[in-house]
């Protein structure tokens, strides 16, 4: 590859190496700093009373007895809290037609989901606060609950919001070519299916938590935050609490998993901030697990009527679908609950070349917990629609699933190009990833094993997915629609007097290793040992302004900003060194904390000595030299709306036709996330992502009854993937660097979750094919498998 000279024209010391995360040492000794670990002087606890009904009018609330209870400092109802907040509305202008009413932190007159907060007790301990909850008397008038997504759109359905004519929040239609006409042609084989995707949720092991402190003298609110986007929350608190933005400080230390769950605006957290300001003392709120299940955003919940048309030779003529998704009673603020549907409309079929496409998305209000962006937003649905329908079509024409992909995947030399839906792609490698996948999985051997086992009544299946993943988003994702969400990120790099680097970044750490890769990049590009780089993230008072970590943007955007800042500081330091050494800057380099001669490597002066001259003995420098040993750079993606990662994955499963249990025998993932900064961290991101995809495909479901009561809101009843069921996951890479940055890194955090469900559904259907049945509903529980087999009614 030719191109401009970059730092990557020579081998790197740290970038590309599997170096253990330095901050893990602290976590392994029990020295994490999670929000719930904090105890501040005079801190009290906010304990929320939540609606037991999915839909109910609140006639009256009597808090008189609760206010007298032991330890109680104050009790607030939804109306009390509403006086101190500007309500929020979860719409964005680039999703035209999306509607959602104003929402308050606590329900005011009507509760619209089971778990919606209706009152809050502030108390000296959580336990005493829970005692006091029982003393609040509320008169509810139960209203009919709207739970089924399709029924919610019927003209007979009760309305969740009386000001609207229906329970439809948003509808979008995307059309390319003429699908109906194209599918009507004689040589087209059409396959149609209804695919259902259950509701699941993030189940972060650390539940949502916040400690809010208010300092009246400074009019400053400090929120200790277990989340992903500190600057977004700073804006939101300031706007809705009518404070100056600079007087709101958001601080995120360690976060016990997030996966999108903790990037949204939650009423209980906003109320905690309001109470801290009202009471002028620190207030903690930590959700318990039941609260998490009924208030953390849920994800998915789609019913999709899909069709695909192929010719006998396997060529895709076109595909289309009608998606109905239930989002709860409001669109979540500020990212909205329409983005998942929008992603599905944009991304379905994205790996393939075809002309005709017709997709409709319907986003529907219901009386259930709010649905919003969770890891791999929309991807599991989009990938399952295209790839499960594609493999079903392959079965219909008797073609191998690999062959039909080879026939239709966008050629690796076709970039830059566009999808039928108008998505712009560059630097992708679908064929190279598929080829690598087949090599590492030994497809031919698996086929032989399958045939042999079938003869013995053992049903094994192999399923594939070819996928894209939206990463490194530009302002086109949220900013364009008016959301207070930065698409650029910043990095500051400072040399201290000891010759060490202090770096800070606006992207954030939730365990994926953000701080580690920032440390690697800074050390490598600037030229110090990694141990001499201290990283700060998560504090709006000290880090540059930026978007935070979501949509797989930390490495690609935050990493590039760190590269640029480190490069800039290096040039500044070499300018100073050149004066001190009476050399030319271009003759010098920095390596392992020393300024060296570029051609010989001879050490000339240590960074510590250089910094001490600058900081302490400036008299030794010419008067016209005012050195800057600090540099800040920002970066945003400008060439494309998104930088797509692509990949190919495969699952090998065994379906027990007597019990309905599905055992995953092995899983393979090949991903092209561009430059891999730390292979071990990236591989484990992919594995963790795949396992979350396995959860949604096989186990996880928020089960509701027709009254809108969640039936399995405990960890004993809601099944998450545990070690004994999890397969070994083999990960490999194709590295096609994105040309949008020097670093060349694309995102890697979500592909596993986005791709695994389709691969698993395909594997199960491949296993069941000889039995003339199929699975078209996730999670693919044993009960549903037995139903598909006709073994139970």
């Amino acid at each position: 590859m030719s191109g401009p000279a970059t730092i990557f024209d020579k081998p790197r010391d740290y970038i590309g190496k599997s170096i253990p995360r330095s901050d893990a040492a602290r976590l392994l000794r029990g020295q994490g700093r999670y929000v719930d670990d904090m105890q501040l002087p005079r801190m009290v606890h906010a304990v929320f009373l939540r609606s037991p009904y999915a839909h109910a009018k609140i006639n009256s609330i009597d808090v008189s007895e609760a206010t007298q209870a032991t330890g109680v400092i104050a009790v607030y109802t939804g109306k009390d809290i509403a006086k101190h907040v500007e309500p929020y509305i979860g719409v964005l202008s680039h999703l035209p037609g999306l509607r959602s009413p104003a929402q308050y932190p606590l329900a005011v007159d009507v509760a619209r989901w089971q778990g919606e907060p209706v009152a809050v007790v502030v108390c000296t301990s959580r336990a005493l606060g829970e005692d006091a909850l029982g003393l609040i008397n509320i008169s509810y008038e139960q209203l009919p609950a709207v739970t089924d997504t399709l029924d919610a759109l019927s003209s007979e359905s009760p309305l969740i919001h009386n000001e609207y004519d229906s329970n439809l929040a948003w509808k979008r239609e995307v059309e390319a070519g003429n699908l109906e006409e194209a599918l009507a042609k004689e040589d087209v084989i059409i396959v149609e299916k209804q695919i259902k995707f259950g509701r699941h949720t993030g189940v972060t092991l650390e539940t949502r938590a916040t400690v809010c402190d208010y300092i009246p003298g400074d009019d400053e609110l400090i929120m200790y935050y277990a989340g992903q986007a500190p600057h977004m929350l700073q804006f939101i608190l300031a706007k809705h609490m009518n404070m100056l933005e600079e007087n709101v400080r958001i601080v995120a230390h360690d976060v016990g998993g997030s996966f999108g769950i903790k990037v949204h605006t939650y009423g209980d957290e906003i109320a905690t901030a309001i109470i801290a300001k009202l009471l002028r003392r620190p207030v903690k709120f930590t959700a318990d697990r039941l609260e998490s299940f009924v208030t953390d955003i849920h994800a998915r919940d789609h019913v999709v009527d899909a069709k695909i048309g192929v010719r006998k030779d396997g060529t895709i003529v076109g595909m289309g679908f009608n998606d109905f998704t239930g989002i709860g009673p409001f669109s979540m603020y500020p990212r909205t609950s329409a983005i998942e549907c929008n992603q599905i409309l944009n991304l379905t079929g994205a790996p393939y070349q075809f002309e005709h496409y017709h997709a409709v998305g319907n986003v529907v209000f219901q009386n259930k917990t709010l649905m919003c962006q969770y890891r791999a937003v929309g991807h599991p649905i989009a990938m399952a629609i295209s790839d499960c329908m594609l493999e079903e079509a392959a079965r219909a024409i008797g073609m191998d699933p690999v062959q039909i992909r080879r026939k239709n995947l966008i050629p690796d030399d076709a970039y830059p190009t566009k999808s039928a839906t108008g998505m712009r792609f560059d630097d992708l490698s679908h064929h190279a990833c598929l080829d690598k996948l087949l090599t590492i999985m030994d497809y031919d051997a698996l086929l032989a094993d399958q045939a042999e086992n079938r003869d013995n009544g053992i049903y094994r299946g192999i399923g594939f997915v070819s996928l894209v993943e939206v990463t490194n988003p530009s302002p086109m994702f949220y900013g364009i629609g008016g959301a207070p969400i930065a698409s650029q990120d910043g990095a500051t790099v400072r040399l201290d007097a000891a010759g060490a680097l202090h770096v800070s970044s606006s992207v954030t750490e939730q365990g994926q290793g953000t701080n580690a890769i920032l440390q690697q990049i800074a050390a490598d590009v600037f030229g110090v040992a990694m141990e001499r780089v201290k990283v700060t993230t998560g504090d709006t008072a000290t880090v540059p302004y930026g978007g935070g970590t979501w949509a797989s943007r930390g490495a690609g955007i935050g990493g590039e900003a760190m590269l640029l800042a480190s490069q800039a500081l290096k040039e500044q330091v070499l300018d100073v060194a050149a004066v001190i050494l009476q050399a030319k800057p271009e003759e010098l380099d920095i390596a392992y904390g020393e300024v060296v001669m570029k051609d010989t490597g001879e050490q000339k002066i240590s960074l510590g000595d250089l910094a001490k001259i600058v900081y302490y003995r400036g008299n030794e420098l010419p008067n016209d030299l005012q050195p800057e040993l600090i540099a800040t750079r920002h970066y945003r993606v400008t060439d494309f709306p998104f930088v797509f990662t692509n990949g190919a994955m495969a699952a090998h499963v065994e379906v027990d036709t007597n019990t309905g249990f599905i055992k995953i025998l092995h899983f393979w993932a090949v991903e092209d996330c561009g430059r891999v900064i730390n292979p071990q961290l990236v591989d484990d991101q992919i594995r963790g992502g795949v396992v979350q995809g396995i959860g949604g495909a096989l186990y996880e479901e928020c089960v509701y009854d027709t009254d809108g009561q969640m039936q399995n809101a405990t960890m004993a009843d809601y099944l998450v993937p545990m070690a004994s069921e999890m397969p070994e996951i083999t990960v490999a890479h194709v590295e096609t660097y994105t040309k949008t940055s020097v670093l060349g890194a694309k995102g890697a955090g979500e592909a596993g979750t986005g791709g695994a469900p389709a691969a698993l559904m395909n594997a199960v259907n491949n296993a069941l094919a000889p039995l003339d049945c199929g699975m078209w509903q996730m999670p693919m529980t044993p009960e549903r498998v037995l139903r598909a087999l006709g073994k139970i009614g």
Partner: protein
């Protein structure tokens, strides 16, 4: 409901005498009374395994034990693991193999893993997976954790 009782408990070799509400669980006692926040609470109903620690040498869910039940007991938490050979080897291998991401499950995962090694179990991946199946990890997909446990056992045998 605010009745308290005095307990004497040894935690990581240090003896504490404290008044605790009789309904306070051991995890909350360690976290809020002693400031030992390395023990994490994930579900408070004994399923996720995050709060697992050693009570008189045996792994236990500290969310399912009242602090008053630990009266007279020896408790070892993550803050005390490094002095133990099995645990320090595991900590090293968890670190090298990236067997943690957010770190929230780590204290419980280490406790369960130490127990597996102390029982003299083999570096058998399926057996390891079964043993740690009461500990939920949302981040890693478990493979790195199994690797770290098996490596620790193999190194000791090697």
């Amino acid at each position: 409901m605010t009745k308290t009782a005095q307990i004497a408990v040894t935690v990581n070799g240090e003896k504490y005498v404290e008044d605790v509400p009789v309904r306070m669980n051991l995890a909350d006692f360690l976290r809020t009374k002693l400031g030992l926040t390395g023990t994490h609470v994930g579900c408070e109903h004994g399923v996720c395994g995050a709060c697992t620690l050693f009570l008189d040498g045996v792994t236990a869910r500290s969310c399912l034990i009242l602090a008053v039940q630990a009266d007279g007991a020896q408790v070892t938490t993550i803050e005390g693991y490094e002095t133990d050979k099995n645990a320090s080897d595991l900590i090293k291998n968890f670190h090298n193999r990236n067997a943690l991401q957010c770190g929230y499950c780590t204290a419980g995962m280490l406790a369960t893993s130490i127990e597996y090694i102390e029982q003299g179990n083999p570096a058998d991946r399926e057996k390891v997976k079964e043993h740690i199946s009461g500990n939920y990890c949302r981040c890693t997909g478990y493979q790195a954790i199994v690797d770290a446990i098996c490596t620790t056992i193999e190194e000791r045998q090697g």
